[in-house]
């Protein structure tokens, strides 16, 4: 068995370039490339990377195999493979391929794959309780509903999925929160990301739906707040969050190591909205998350920010409760762009956009972002648009 595996490794290295879609090591000196007119990079001279992109050609059979595996979890049927092979030219192959993608996005296998995609995106699942958030996102995708329902749905936000059948049964989240707001009031989410100060819940929202780690906002001009080697870069006034000077028990205004406020200026204005959910994900009438202080006493609102401050999604986007937070998130263009970028990275086989910094330049996905934002944030349409894009079908 060992020698067999060794042989397979060597053979795989021989064949891998055939199977892999990466690359483009052949460099022709072509002077033009097919730039997107709306691409800011288009103003720059074509470089070697543009030339490499221009050397790609359509390969609908390679695209079909990848699409089948990602959209259904299975290889394409040989009849499907042959249908693409037999198509007369690229236009005909494209038509056959697009029909196959449509077929792959119908049926239980697609629902199962979307469930898997959202479980991985949300980093939760595997039990009824922890599956309702990914099931809701999968349902929105399969039923081609608005992505923004993830933040605004007041009912039906905790469905259950019959995995084998690929169907969904409606269900409302019962966290006890005053009003439902999509996954923001999902008790499974609140349980999975329970932590001191509810910061893990805030981090989850930021990373899952904005596709970046904190800091979330940057001022045009950083300022010195007591440590000239590390400037404060946030948009909020530095004193808008708590420190020991304002009566808080944690010094979020500390500047001795790094500038805590660079991240916490936003985090501390969001976290109180999630702080009433306890460790089981149930909403309580008072703050129910601990602090890292000795004795793990519960957080106080004065630990987050001083009197006079209020909760908000971003500076200038106040949110008095989770319903308003959901509305603010849904109105944030960065959230729609993140949804497109995540879908893009999934289709193109990239690793996690946050964990591994697999950022997608806006210019790469500008047409998909435009279509997504102008047609009601329809998730299934987005998936189709990405899987039938030139970049997906060129190698």
């Amino acid at each position: 068995m060992k020698s067999t595996s060794t042989f397979l490794v060597v053979s795989t290295l021989v064949l891998l370039p055939l199977a892999s879609a990466c690359g483009g090591s052949d460099t022709k000196n072509e002077q033009t490339f097919d730039a997107n007119p709306s691409d800011p990079d288009a103003a720059l001279p074509a470089d070697e990377w543009d030339q490499r992109l221009s050397q790609r050609d359509y390969n609908y059979n390679a695209a079909l195999r990848i699409a089948a595996l990602r959209l259904t979890g299975a290889l394409p049927l040989m009849d499907d493979v042959q249908a693409v092979v037999n198509a007369a030219d690229n236009a005909a192959k494209k038509a056959v391929y697009e029909a196959m993608v449509t077929k792959y996005m119908t049926g239980p296998q697609f629902a199962q794959r979307m469930m898997g995609f959202w479980r991985d995106t949300f980093k939760m699942g595997g039990s009824v309780e922890l599956d309702t958030a990914p099931a809701f996102a999968a349902q929105l995708t399969v039923e081609n509903r608005s992505y923004m329902e993830l933040f605004t749905a007041t009912a039906g936000n905790c469905p259950t999925m019959d995995f084998a059948a690929g169907t969904f049964a409606a269900g409302d989240c019962a966290s006890g929160a005053p009003g439902n707001a999509g996954v923001l009031t999902n008790p499974g989410v609140m349980k999975q990301f329970f932590s001191n100060f509810a910061f893990r819940r805030v981090k989850w929202v930021q990373e899952a739906f904005v596709c970046t780690k904190f800091p979330a906002e940057f001022a045009a001009t950083p300022v010195d707040v007591g440590n000239p080697t590390n400037l404060y870069t946030g948009k909020y006034p530095f004193e808008s969050i708590a420190g020991t000077a304002s009566g808080g028990r944690i010094d979020f205004r500390d500047v001795s190591a790094v500038i805590c406020a660079n991240c916490h200026s936003n985090m501390n204005h969001i976290a109180p909205l999630f702080a009433n959910f306890d460790g089981t994900g149930q909403y309580k009438n008072t703050i129910s998350v601990p602090t890292p202080l000795d004795g793990a006493s519960l957080a106080l609102i004065t630990d987050y920010y001083p009197a006079g401050e209020t909760t908000a999604w971003r500076l200038g986007a106040p949110a008095a409760n989770l319903t308003e937070l959901g509305a603010a998130i849904a109105a944030d263009p960065a959230v729609a762009e993140c949804a497109v970028a995540r879908t893009w990275n999934w289709a193109l086989g990239k690793t996690d956009i946050v964990d591994t910094l697999q950022q997608v330049p806006k210019s790469t996905i500008s047409s998909q972002i435009n279509a997504f934002t102008t047609s009601g944030y329809k998730l299934k349409d987005l998936v189709y648009a990405v899987y039938t894009s030139d970049d997906f079908t060129k190698f």
Partner: protein
């Protein structure tokens, strides 16, 4: 100009990665004498000690690893528009095996293809949602080893099953993996290779398959090796 722009972006990113935030609090203690008190953390750190719960998650990408990646793979404007090579997801591996006639239940024993698949979930990088870890998308050494062992063990089942596989029929006609020429020598059939890989057989794949048959110690070993080689090559990447 483009190079300068990319370099500037990288420098900015490095600075950002090196300045992740941490805060200090009253009443925070640590039992580890080798660590500085929480209120005296060295510049740039966001990590507390074992004795407190004030740690930040610093499990991001190393700035130097990121620079290395950008230099090797190219800038995001290029890499974002190219397919990458993620591992085949665990459930998809099971689907591929089952659709090619392999019993993945594990009933054939621990060293059967199904047994290796069933016991290989961790090596193959399945998710650990209880610890907020998604399924791994990068194939690891242990994952590749297990995957290749699975394909080696699966080969006899695949060869035997192929003529009856619905997934491999073209217009209702069955596919077979191997043929025999006029000199009674086994050769690889393109349709069989396509059935294994999910894409039309390339000339290189056919050549490798035939070479594997010719170099084997006996025809049975050669056929098994050929199937395993082709599946390993095709399904290392999704």
């Amino acid at each position: 100009m483009q190079t300068m722009k990319n370099t500037s972006n990288i420098k900015f990113l490095v600075m950002g990665l090196l300045t992740l935030g941490a805060c200090t609090g009253e009443g925070i203690t640590t039992d580890d004498p080798t660590l500085p008190p929480a209120t005296e953390q060295p510049g740039g750190t966001t990590t507390g000690g074992d004795g407190n719960t004030f740690d930040h998650d610093n499990s991001g990408v190393s700035a130097w690893d990121l620079i290395d990646r950008l230099q090797k793979e190219g800038p995001p404007k290029y890499t974002s528009r190219m397919h990458s090579c993620p591992k085949v997801k665990y459930s998809a591996i099971g689907n591929i095996l089952a659709s090619r006639g392999v019993d993945i239940s594990g009933a054939g024993g621990a060293l059967s293809a199904g047994g290796l698949y069933q016991s290989g979930n961790n090596a193959l990088g399945v998710a650990d949602y209880s610890n907020r870890i998604r399924e791994n998308l990068v194939i690891s050494t242990s994952g590749a080893s297990r995957l290749f062992d699975i394909f080696a063990a699966a080969a006899p089942e695949v060869i035997a099953a192929m003529p009856n596989l619905e997934a491999c029929k073209v217009a209702g006609v069955s596919s077979t993996m191997f043929g025999v020429d006029a000199q009674n020598t086994a050769y690889c059939r393109a349709e069989g290779i396509a059935c294994l890989t999910g894409a039309p057989a390339t000339g290189t794949a056919i050549d490798l398959c035939n070479l594997t048959l010719q170099k084997a110690t006996n025809p049975t070993v050669g056929k098994n090796m050929a199937v395993a080689v082709l599946m390993a090559a095709a399904h290392t990447c999704e």
